[in-house]
């Protein structure tokens, strides 16, 4: 590992430009309380480009010669934090909820903002292990580099050990040098696609959507627009799962807490079942 040289903190001007770029591309806001993250996040990119500080990076962005620099900056600024079976009980309840719907057709699941893909693979393992119909799992993220990594299904020793029980690693992954790669069966059960929650329409209609730990990065207007699009992407009895601490309450007219599945959300026009009414 190369040690990163200490660089000078971004100037106020550079912070403003980089934050504005992130917000324009993704709807994500770099709150003042998280502005410290900017310096850490861009350090590897500065090192790679042999640039001395954030102002030089901004100059590179603004001179217009490097057409990929905007994407690379946004990739660096996005938070790719994720792990296998993050909040394991929640992932298990998501699989149970899909099974409880008893759909005769193949269920459709969307993992929105899945970063490097540990969440969709966690779901795929659970669905495959319970022996039921394997759903179509679509995994999306705004970051091209995160999508490329997810598509490869290759994880470092540190990544593979976060949340993944060893027996599942033995069953579903193979050693590849110092990395561990999802086997072909597991990887083939997920479709990967680049998708920007802030601007793109939902990529279909789904029985279950997971959109965890991303809404709180979005500006309130973008968050509301995203929730509306998520609602439209749910099938009539579909379920939405957000991150802990995220809610639709007060932010969406089209979604409400599920009447049948605690911790999930559903469209307001979802028919309340007799079972739910008995509560």
């Amino acid at each position: 590992m190369t040690a990163l040289a200490r660089v000078q903190p971004p100037s106020a001007g550079a912070t403003m430009v980089l934050s504005a770029l992130l917000e324009a591309r993704t709807g994500q806001q770099l709150a003042a309380s998280r502005s410290w993250r900017l310096e850490t996040a861009i350090a590897p990119l500065l090192s790679e480009l042999a640039l001395p500080h954030a102002d030089a990076l901004v100059a590179r962005l603004l001179d217009g010669h490097d057409h990929r620099i905007g994407d690379r900056i946004v990739d660096a600024l996005l938070n790719h934090e994720t792990s296998f079976f993050r909040d394991a009980g929640v992932i298990e309840s998501a699989v149970e909820a899909v099974r409880a719907q008893g759909a005769t057709a193949r269920p459709r699941v969307w993992c929105a903002a899945c970063a490097t893909g540990q969440e969709p693979l966690s779901l795929a393992m659970l669905f495959a292990e319970d022996g039921g119909v394997m759903p179509d799992i679509l995994a999306t993220d705004v970051s091209a580099s995160a999508m490329a990594r997810a598509r490869a299904g290759s994880y470092s020793q540190f990544e593979i050990q976060r949340g993944l029980p060893i027996r599942r690693m033995m069953r579903w992954f193979e050693a590849d040098g110092s990395n561990w790669v999802a086997n072909k069966t597991l990887l083939a059960s997920v479709t990967y696609r680049r998708h920007n929650l802030a601007v793109d329409a939902g990529p279909g209609r789904f029985d279950l959507i997971l959109c965890r730990n991303v809404l709180f990065y979005l500006t309130p207007p973008v968050r509301q627009a995203v929730l509306e699009r998520l609602a439209q992407a749910l099938k009539p009895a579909g379920l939405l799962l957000l991150g802990a601490g995220e809610t639709v309450i007060g932010q969406s007219e089209q979604l409400r807490p599920s009447t049948t599945h605690r911790g999930f959300y559903e469209r307001v026009d979802t028919e309340v079942t007799p079972h739910a009414q008995r509560g």
């Binding site: 792990s83 020793q157 050990q161 027996r167 033995m170 050693a175």
Partner: protein, 121 residues
């Protein structure tokens, strides 16, 4: 408070693991080889054993096999923690009765995650 027995012939590894485990609110006891670890199991009844593979006197695998013959109030969970990172070693450890497996080097998140998986954190 749960108790973790760290079994490793490296003082440095024991020190690093102890620091992490104490921040996770574990009581920690140590052993430098498998035989000493068996003695510590009887003395402290640990909830979990963090077990190195290659050690003098008694290896991790020998300890694991011997543990099954011991009379203890409750069998501790056993988490291998080793530089033996190949699939063959992992499979052998799990087939011999290990509950989890940590590939060195490890960090706090890895250790915490594995201890959660075996139900002690």
């Amino acid at each position: 408070m749960k108790t973790c027995l760290i079994v490793d012939d490296s003082k440095v590894i024991r020190k690093v693991a102890r620091h992490i485990l104490e921040t996770l609110n574990f009581a920690v006891v140590e052993a430098a080889d498998g035989r000493e670890a068996l003695t510590q199991c009887h003395a402290h009844h640990p909830d979990v054993v963090l077990l190195d593979w290659n050690m003098p006197v008694m290896s991790g695998m020998e300890f694991l096999r011997a543990l099954g013959d011991e009379t203890l109030p409750k069998r501790p969970k056993v988490v291998f923690c080793t530089t033996e990172n190949g699939m063959a070693h992992i499979r052998a450890a799990i087939e011999a009765g290990a509950d989890e497996y940590v590939m060195k080097p490890f960090d706090r998140e890895t250790l915490e995650s594995k201890l959660q998986i075996v139900g002690v954190a």
